[in-house]
């Protein structure tokens, strides 16, 4: 795990190949995903209106996306009226610059952070570091990732790929570098590890002047932002500092206060399999003498409007980042989150990352293929994103090329390079099927030479047949068999 960023990752098959051959990683992942999968099923079964909640969640998010301009303007008005300051950022660089400038205006060089996918997506910590500002991750799993100079591998539990022994070693080795060292004789029990994190982070919370967060939801009608969490690190960052900066994707809006009743029921059960997460904080602008007295909201696009422009792909913006799709995915379970080369791993990452970033890089062009299309991700999704549909749509775009939107402009994508052999094969098949004589001759020839067929394909087909058995050619083509046994006639007629 070098450097802690995803830049320059190899394509999914290569990255996954390494992960699949790491037995510790596979063991850690299997344990974690199976535990949460079973618990989630129980938590969901408690609500007999689950299907109706899922449908309402889908409709609320779709409606919002279809009128996103209206709700963005309304949100800006409500947040401003409640005492907040709204900033707009078209891309990651602009968002990072805005946040760095806001921190500098406070005169501080340290910030505490609530776990946030949006700030990871834009690489905020690295950008702040370059400006001499230290950003401390305060979520336990994010702390494990940050101290281990590692990358997150799961949306909800970023250190899911680490077991307790590995975490103990990271704490014992690294905590002293960042602040209060780990207690002497630290063991690997989760309770002791959590206590070490508590002690390590406490001074940082108590002296922090600037907090940075994301938000799970923003209510257009009231200007309310909401963060769900478990540990209390979120509450610390949202209430103790004098200045709060929230960096949120433009798709995180819901129109009304009432809409939260849907997501407060579906999100905790889908993500941590709890009836309710231990802590939920909601704030509307600033409140006199309670919590931060300066509140900035940075709204980021960073590829979201391009995703919105895709009629099939835009449903990915409904995502509420619950991570249920990761936990049921047979590909994620074996390959792990790092192989996806993005802060958004798993099935949702396979459709979100190539849309947010475009498909120009090798990793992004490979992601829509990082799936067996089994459909389990769609089944568990609390906002009913048809992930397989979007995967197939993106595969077609990559293999065939076609219209897309990049940074607000319509572009025509060329077919991706790696798919030349596939396209040639399809062209050949099309020709053969429209020339019955040639097809018959070819099939007979194939049957007669079957003893000499290789076990794997040569040339560009080699990689494909490395992991699959080639079908054996029958002794007689079907058409010959039909001719011989039925005389070419359909006997039922």
């Amino acid at each position: 795990m070098s450097g802690g960023t995803f830049v320059g990752m190899p394509a999914f098959p290569k990255a996954a190949h390494e992960a699949v051959n790491n037995p510790t990683l596979r063991g850690n992942l299997r344990h974690a995903t199976h535990t949460i999968r079973a618990k989630r099923a129980v938590a969901v079964a408690e609500l007999d209106d689950w299907a109706a909640l899922r449908e309402a969640g889908k409709q609320i998010k779709d409606h919002t996306l279809r009128h996103l301009d209206r709700y963005l303007v309304q949100l800006e008005e409500s947040v401003t009226a409640a005492g907040g300051i709204v900033h707009w950022a078209a891309d990651a660089d602009e968002a990072n610059r805005i946040v760095a400038d806001l921190v500098k205006m406070t005169g501080e060089s340290e910030v505490v952070k609530v776990k946030s996918m949006a700030t990871q997506e834009i690489g905020l910590n690295e950008a702040l570091e370059a400006e001499g500002i230290h950003a401390y991750e305060t979520d336990l799993a994010e702390l494990i990732v940050q101290l281990g100079k590692d990358r997150p591998s799961h949306i909800l539990v970023p250190a899911i790929h680490r077991n307790r022994g590995e975490i103990r070693d990271i704490f014992a080795r690294e905590m002293g570098e960042w602040g209060r060292p780990a207690p002497e004789g630290l063991t690997d029990t989760p309770a002791e590890l959590a206590e070490a994190a508590r002690l390590h982070l406490r001074d940082k919370f108590l002296r922090a002047k600037v907090g940075i967060s994301g938000a799970n939801f923003m209510v257009a009608e009231t200007g309310t932002l909401m963060v769900v969490e478990s540990e209390g690190n979120g509450r610390m960052c949202l209430t103790l500092p004098e200045t709060l900066i929230s960096v949120v994707g433009i798709e995180k809006i819901v129109p009304t206060w009432q809409d939260l009743e849907v997501f407060l029921q579906t999100l905790p059960r889908s993500s941590t399999a709890e009836r309710m997460n231990p802590y939920t904080s909601m704030w509307t602008g600033t409140t006199d003498a309670d919590g931060p007295q300066t509140f900035h909201l940075v709204l980021i696009d960073n590829g979201r409007t391009d995703t919105l422009a895709d009629e099939v792909g835009r449903q990915a913006l409904r995502c509420i980042r619950c991570s249920a799709c990761l936990n049921v995915c047979p590909v994620y379970e074996r390959a792990g989150g790092h192989a996806y080369g993005s802060v958004y791993p798993g099935p949702i990452g396979a459709i979100l990352s190539p849309q947010l970033r475009g498909t120009a890089s090798e990793i992004d062009a490979s992601l829509p293929y990082a799936s067996s299309l089994c459909g389990a991700c769609y089944e568990v999704c609390p906002v009913a994103i048809d992930i397989p549909e979007v995967l197939v749509h993106l595969r077609e775009r990559i293999a065939e090329g076609g219209q897309a939107t990049r940074e607000g402009n319509k572009v025509v994508l060329k077919p991706a390079k790696g798919h030349a052999a596939e396209r040639a094969a399809m062209r050949a098949a099309r020709w053969a099927f429209s020339h019955p004589g040639a097809l018959r001759t070819g099939q007979r020839l194939a049957s007669r030479t079957r003893r000499f067929h290789p076990r794997s394909l040569p040339g560009p087909g080699k990689a494909w047949s490395d992991t699959r058995d080639l079908p054996t050619v029958p002794a007689e083509p079907f058409r010959d068999w039909w001719q011989r046994t039925h005389g070419g006639k359909d006997t039922d007629k």
């Binding site: 799993a141 982070l201 406490r202 709890e274 009836r275 709204l299 391009d306 607000g408």
Partner: protein, 215 residues
């Protein structure tokens, strides 16, 4: 062009395929889900709250208005704190039997000062039975958000049945979004290590809930 106009322009162009639709929002979304799950009597709803709170490792006590000061005294005595934080509007009779020195949260008190206080006693805005959740809205008997966060021991008093609702939808109807809201379901917890649930990270590690009737 400002980034605001750039983003709004991109959104509008991205939605060029979407037909105009002026259906009022109340009709735009089908809300076929339930307002509460299952039929319960008032007593059963309070019992469910107690059960779900305990399931998430909150310590639940039940008492009546007369006994409440003595229960709070005993709960504090069991932990022996020297100081206990109380919000400005906490009913004085709740603390009438307690021994420790009462500390009020003042705007000038620093987080470090709060960190020296071991226990805090508050009321709540309401409690949700189906999820085992307490909601605090910064009312006079609850105080600022930080006072229920920094001390390690939180005693929260819920008036039953008036302050108990069945479900999340019923809770949102009764809450005021302009107030800062903190929803608490059990003590601070983490599942970040091998998805084993461990209670107690940054928030109070012990949450005691007193369900008080007959006030």
């Amino acid at each position: 062009m400002s980034s605001r106009d750039l983003i709004l322009g991109r959104v509008r162009r991205a939605l060029a395929d979407v037909p105009r639709d002026d259906t009022p929002y109340e009709q735009a979304v089908e809300r076929g889900y339930l307002r509460e799950h299952g039929g319960r009597s008032v007593e059963q709803t309070v019992d469910l709250l107690a059960e779900n709170l305990a399931d998430y490792r909150a310590i639940v006590h039940r008492t009546d208005a007369e006994e409440l000061p003595y229960l709070i005294m005993r709960l504090l005595a069991a932990r022996g704190p020297q100081y206990v934080l109380v919000p400005p509007g906490l009913p004085p009779e709740w603390m009438s039997a307690a021994d420790p020195t009462r500390v009020h949260d003042r705007a000038a008190s620093t987080p470090h000062e709060l960190d020296k206080v071991e226990s805090v006693v508050t009321g709540c805005a309401l409690a949700i039975a189906e999820t085992g959740t307490l909601v605090l809205d910064g009312g006079p008997d609850q105080g600022r958000r930080r006072i229920t966060l920094v001390p390690d021991h939180h005693i929260c008093v819920v008036r039953v049945p008036d302050q108990v609702v069945s479900s999340v939808p019923q809770a949102l109807e009764r809450l005021d979004p302009t107030r800062p809201l903190t929803w608490i379901s059990g003590p601070s917890a983490t599942s970040d290590i091998e998805l084993d649930r461990v209670e107690g990270v940054h928030g109070p590690r012990t949450l005691e809930v007193v369900l008080v009737s007959g006030e």
